[in-house]
């Protein structure tokens, strides 16, 4: 039935949003670590 398509769409949207957000946290962590390394190296 058509409703399964909506179910999958909602699931994919949910985990896509979470994935993008977790990815942004990882990226920000890497930037902070790099800044810390630069500070301790100077």
């Amino acid at each position: 039935m058509n409703s399964v398509r909506f179910l999958w769409a909602a699931y994919i949207a949910t985990w896509l949003i979470h994935g993008l957000y977790l990815g942004s946290i990882v990226r920000r962590y890497r930037r902070v670590r790099r800044q810390m390394k630069d500070l301790s190296g100077e």
Binding site: M1, N2, S3, V4, F6, L7, A9, A10, Y11, A13, T14, I17, H18, Y21, L22, I25, R28, Y29, V32, Q35, M36, L39, E42
Partner: protein, 246 residues
């Protein structure tokens, strides 16, 4: 010592949460019985409602942290406030995305301006404006202004929750404590996912809070360094006497 234990505990709890999420998804998609009138699309319920619950809990955390910050000016409370608001907005976004996807096959429309939906959108907009304020304002008063905005924003949470109790809306009545009923097998899966999403929200908030704290330490160290640099440069500069030392 406590910080070290917490640091070691984090990956273990993260793995446990990931396992719980996988188990909760399996229960929601496979084990839970299919609802008679809506069919499979009703399974959206198992993460739409837990996402809303987690978002509310995070906004409540933001409220408490904001009050603590206003009273004690504790920077850790401020870091928790900004982290919980950001993660809360993510969960609220999921509610606003999955809701219309569920509404389309069931109601025949993506969106209606009824009280529950509109107040949820307003809640989302308030916390997005909170994050915009935190991101783009450099004033020393920003945390105070943001904390006040958070207190006003949190007033919308009970309005969202109780809107379907006191007003006639398109949105279904609550299944627990609101006169609705749920098959015991559905209730089991729902409660499992409620717990799982709460753990997931807490873990992400914890992680985000650690990042916020690290970022503040780095910013502080960079500010200190930029303050010291001119002094060091002045001290290391050779003294030149009048007449060029000849």
């Amino acid at each position: 010592m406590i910080a070290g234990t917490v640091k070691r505990l984090f990956p273990i709890l993260a793995v446990l949460t990931a396992l719980l999420l996988a188990y909760g998804t399996y229960q929601a998609l496979v084990v839970a019985p299919t609802e008679r009138t809506m069919g499979d699309v009703q399974r959206i319920f198992y993460y739409h409602v837990p996402s809303a619950w987690t978002g509310f809990c995070l906004f409540f955390t933001n409220l408490i942290a904001s009050i603590v910050y206003l009273i004690r000016k504790n920077p850790k409370a401020d870091a928790l406030a900004v982290s919980s608001a950001e993660v809360g907005v993510v969960f609220c976004t999921i509610v606003l995305v999955t809701g219309p996807i569920w509404a389309r096959p069931v109601w025949g429309i993506w969106w209606t301006w009824d009280l529950r939906l509109t107040s949820t959108l307003v809640l989302w907009l308030i916390y997005v404006s909170y994050l915009v304020l935190r991101r783009f304002s450099d004033s020393a008063q920003t945390p105070v202004l943001a904390a006040v905005l958070a207190i006003f924003g949190a007033l919308d949470v009970p309005l969202v929750y109780f809107s379907i109790w006191f007003f006639r809306t398109q949105h279904p009545q609550p299944v627990i404590g609101g006169g609705g009923s749920l098959d015991p097998r559905m209730l089991h899966v729902f409660l499992l996912n409620l717990f799982t999403f709460s753990c997931f929200g807490a873990m992400v908030c914890w992680w985000r809070c650690r990042l916020e704290w690290l970022q503040r330490e780095v910013d502080e160290a960079e500010a200190m360094e930029s303050l010291l640099e001119p002094t060091e440069a002045r001290l290391s500069k050779p003294k030149v006497t009048a007449g060029g030392g000849r």
